[in-house]
């Protein structure tokens, strides 16, 4: 019963690097389980996942991962406080109906949360909108406006502001380029917001 290998995404290496070995992790929106597989193998993490697409869930469980079908918007409420060392939400925040409520749940369920999202303030996005007057499509945001799952896009600056407003502490931040490499800029700064393709943040509640 051979399974296709899970698909590795450029930002996941940086997300994984923030996770301490041997910890308990919940990956919200775990897709086909690429990150969970990596964390289990490389860091002996006790990992769980939630995935909205049934095909992803089935692939994960068939691969021996502990994954349930569920929705970040509705199913995080079940979990008790501090149930995990890390709750990860990678490239999913922008697809949730209520990102603020989801963020609150992340830092409630996890002692730490790791959130990555596509930066809508990136220069390519700004230029497309400025010069073409059309909804931007970029390598990080490839879908047309009518087919994208992304309903709550934000910039790194927006995210940093919301975190501050919610009393969420940013312990670490990274701005990644298109290949997933961290840029040598302050993650919460204006330059990061201009050149970062993806933002990755390690968070905790105050």
């Amino acid at each position: 019963m051979a399974e296709a290998q899970p698909t590795w995404r450029a930002d996941l290496a940086q997300v994984a690097a923030m996770v301490a070995p041997g910890s308990r992790v919940l990956d919200v929106g775990c897709g086909d389980g690429a990150l969970l597989t990596h964390l289990a193998r490389e860091k002996e993490v006790d990992g769980r996942g939630i995935e909205i697409k049934q095909s992803g869930v089935n692939a994960c469980v068939a691969r021996g991962l502990s994954v349930i079908q569920g929705d970040a918007d509705t199913d995080l409420a079940d979990y008790p406080d501090d149930a995990f060392d890390y709750v990860i939400l990678s490239l999913t925040l922008q697809a949730t109906r209520d990102p603020k409520a989801v963020l609150l749940d992340l830092v409630r369920i996890g002692r730490r949360a790791i959130v990555s999202f596509p930066n809508f303030g990136q220069w390519r996005v700004r230029l497309r909108l400025l010069f073409h007057g059309r909804m931007p499509t970029t390598p990080a945001l490839p879908d047309a406006w009518w087919s994208t799952q992304n309903i709550h896009l934000c910039t790194i600056a927006d995210f940093v502001e919301l975190a501050a407003e919610m009393g969420i502490v940013i312990e670490r931040g990274l701005a990644l380029d298109a290949s997933g490499q961290p840029l040598r800029v302050g993650a919460a700064g204006r330059l990061a917001n201009l050149i970062g393709e993806t933002g990755v943040f390690l968070l905790r509640k105050d």
């Binding site: 869930v57 691969r63 502990s66 349930i68 079940d78």
Partner: protein, 403 residues
Amino acid sequence: MTTATTLSTISSVQELAALRHRLPGRRLTIPADEPLPLDRGVSLGPATVAYTTYGTLNAKRSNAILVCHALTGDHYAAEPHPITGKPGWWEQVIGKGLPIDIDRFFVICANVIGGCMGSTGPSDINPATGKPYGLDFPVITIADMVRAQVRLIDHLGIDKLFAVIGGSMGAMQALQWAADYPERVFASVPIAGAAHHTAQNIAFHEVGRQAIMADPEWRGGRYLEEGTDPRRGLSVARMTAHVTYLSEPALHRKFGRNLQDRSGVSFGFDADFQVESYLRHQGSSFVDRFDANAYLYITRAMDYFDLAAEHGGVLANAFQDTPVRFCLISFTSDWLFPTTESRKIVHALNAVAANVSFVEVESDKGHDSFLLDEPEFFRVLDGFLKGCAEHAKLPVSVTGSGT
């Protein structure tokens, strides 16, 4: 084995009752001086637990999987049925190279108490009267069934099961095991199950029971003594239940409105439609292998099942701090034990941050999907068990050492 010929020679329910004590398989006797305590407040003993095993128990006794059968199932899970001669109900799941791989696992399957395939049930002789129990048999529960299984596991010298796996009523047992004996189960796999029997479930069971009890040959449950046979009642019960195990798309695909060996309707009440003929066959073949009183008792045990009620009305309390790894599996077209019921269990397990996987398998075959050829289901079960084996550091084969 003279199994198929045995069936053709059975002419009465009385003969069938006698035959059950000669069926192949292993037996555990629960002695009268150490009887099985029951939820109902009485105890049962002496009693017999009929069971079968496949594969080999490893030296550490760490590779045992208990497979729990459904309402009308039995312990002949992966071998031909000794009465009907048909393949075992999970021959596609238990075997070499199959999801429950008998090269790796030691598989135990026991007939539930209250049943009629060798474990003590209402068709057995009540030692107090020397006559068949009939309705004097105590009403048993899912927890009682599990208690009997615990005796069996003790008898086999197994401290901790690698997994408890079951569909439908078997799922109830898998949940009960995890709730009552969390330290004795590494993994629990409730398939097409629920944490309680719903009003609709109870309602269908009641129709079945009423059909049995309305049969004049049932005689208040004393048919074995009176030489009667409530086969018509039991057969109607089976027909009703069988419809609930299927789905309309499955029935439509199989039969549609096709007529049975005729070109037009008969304007009578003969089996005009193929689906009628099929159901009648299901009913009449069922009575050749099943006992009417056992049907009453086992359906009752399912009706009484309510895991949350046992824990102050909060299902999550049943699993507080559970170390058990769970894998719940449901099927999209199962309207008897729908996905929503499995999801309730998942929510409860999340509330205690338990280790849980949950998969809904796309199938149009209804509740019976877990007994049928569903490759996606097999893949998931296979992957889950392999993942668990890795975590439990269980060797790949009984004699091997690697993982």
